[in-house]
Symmetry: C2
Subunit: 335 residues, 2 copies
DNA sequence: TTGAAAGCGCTACCAT
DNA sequence: ATGGTAGCGCTTTCAA
């Protein structure tokens, strides 16, 4: 591998001058620069980013630590982050902890010296831990985990607002006996969505203790919940699943069980993954705009790095909107 | 940030000893090691991977350059790569060229000094260029682009075999007037799939010049193709799209136009993205096992880095299998 | 077993 | 405008 030193020697200048020329600094004579560039091209010189990072104390790399890489949610998220990061000419270092929480700390440590800042989406409520960990010496933006008592900047989706909207929507469309399929018990979003569901059921219908079936956000749990529901004999006229994956599965299971989706039984999800519009009927859901979420996180971090993070963008809460489709056409139309 | 020097000083040893102790080398007295580790923990020392990479001339990072990040294909691919890479304790550096071919070379250069090796999925037939480029001084594995006249190791899916299978399958299920929606004209996979389709139509049905509609693998083009098809008045009883995204769209469009999918008109795709099994009827497609593809690429690169790449694994061609679902239930059953 | 010191490839400061 | 040189934080000979 040819280094800058060889280029300098070959061009008959010092490494300092070579460095300046190659980095487009102004204080280099035009002929000198031309010669250096020619030599660099001839020798096929490619700067060693690692070495450069070491001296500049800046890596131009953004690290992302995700709980997992499964499904469309993460792919959309990464796309959003990449979009913003790439726009600033920086690169993306991807780390996951494969669901294992113990790996989080290690994953973060491994980032030291490789990235300028980190976007972390903790699997659960690791936020507090992170804030305590003194090792967190570099800029961090939390994703979807509004840190309680933490001072870390964050970007998240307003799960509560979304769940409220959708529950109201189901009621408006004629549902009265709504069943909720929740996410993991230790997941903040899942908890908020379930709580919001309860609140609206109480406020709008006076139902203090609505049916909530356990789920885990993953494939398999939507179907399981429906099987349990049907077996239980509980009466229902709508299902609100805490995310789209479960909602789609629930929809399929209900359809297979002979229910007419959208009229006899309304179904709604949360996230608006691409799949939601392809199933039939289309799935009514809460549009999180995942890509936007990723972009916002990246932009917050980028601003933080530049020291331009103003107070108001310190914490960004994205308020989702409804995406109404066929799965909640309405009970009235069933008649 | 605390460096190894501070740890050494605080522990009353030389940096050399500190380094050895922290890296678990054997030639350090137990008490010395204990003390150093205690100090490191107390000072919350985290090694600087960048600096370490520089001296060791090894980054423990694998770079991946993708044409884009859109859709499930790439998310599954990344997941596969990450799986293999993570298993070896290495990290993943992600680069994309956002469809712009000019960015490829630059993206590769930017990797110098950051990664030990590269997995590249060129948008088109950049393989040759890459092989020529002398800058490619580090280990590279090509993804899905069997380099013509290139000596780079590669992993790819046998598009031809897959397309042959599925065309035969459609014919078996009673289709005679099959229309193909192709991918981008400059995409190798797209070209091979179309060619295989032609060959089988010729061989099995004696149709030398089957209808092939242009597409681009992306959302929008499946629908467009169907609109064109319906407008043209061309007779058809099956549609084989070069990838699932277009196939699903085509399916929806045809259904909206009043066709019974799976009986009146058969539809098939290519890739087997998760979505394929959720639409209804399920989409018959070619199972590429994208995750496996990513894993294989990563493993090839890892072996290459270890100097363990034997001749036969130099080029891996994954032969896909059919995933038969409702969208090709069969024309016979229509009766 | 431990320490001193020479780099890894580059940038940036201080001279000239 | 150009050159010499001191690091960036770490690993790794070479000596002791």
């Amino acid at each position: 591998m040819v280094t800058i030193r060889e280029v300098a020697k070959e061009a008959g200048v010092s490494v300092a001058t070579a460095s300046r020329a190659l980095n487009g600094m102004s204080n280099v004579t035009e002929p000198t620069r031309a010669k250096i560039e020619a030599v660099a091209a001839r020798l096929n010189y490619v700067p060693h980013s690692g070495a450069r990072s070491l001296t500049k104390r800046q890596t131009d790399t953004i690290g992302v630590i995700l709980p997992d890489l499964f499904g469309e949610f993460f792919s959309e998220l990464i796309r959003g982050i990449d979009k913003a990061v790439h726009a600033e000419g920086k690169t993306l270092l991807l780390g996951t902890m494969h669901g294992r929480q113990e790996e989080t700390a290690q994953a973060i440590r491994a980032m030291r010296g490789r990235v300028d800042g980190l976007i972390i989406m903790p699997p659960e409520t690791v936020a507090k831990t992170l804030d305590t960990e003194p090792l967190v010496a570099f800029p961090i933006v939390m994703l979807n985990a509004p840190p309680k008592g933490s001072t870390l900047p964050f970007v998240s989706i307003d799960s509560r607002a979304g769940a409220e909207m959708i529950t109201r929507h189901l009621i408006e469309r004629g549902a009265r006996k709504i069943v909720h399929i929740s996410g993991p018990a230790n997941n903040r979003d899942a908890i908020e969505r379930a709580a919001a569901f309860r609140d609206i059921m109480k406020a709008e219908l006076g139902i203090a203790d609505p049916v909530i079936l356990p789920g885990d956000f993953c494939e398999g749990s939507g179907e399981k919940a429906i099987v349990a529901l049907l077996t239980s004999g509980i009466a229902f006229d709508a299902v609100f699943a805490a995310n789209d994956v479960m909602a789609v599965e629930a929809m399929m299971s209900l359809r297979d069980a002979g229910y007419a989706i959208g009229t006899e039984v309304l179904v709604a999800g949360f996230d608006d993954i691409p799949l939601a519009r392809y199933v039939s009927p289309g799935l009514t859901t809460v549009r999180s705009e995942i890509t936007k979420l990723g972009e916002a996180a990246a932009r917050t971090l980028l601003a933080l790095l530049k020291g331009e993070l103003d107070e108001e963008s310190h914490g960004t809460v994205i308020v989702p909107r409804l995406a109404v489709r066929g799965s909640t056409a309405g009970r009235d139309e069933a008649a």
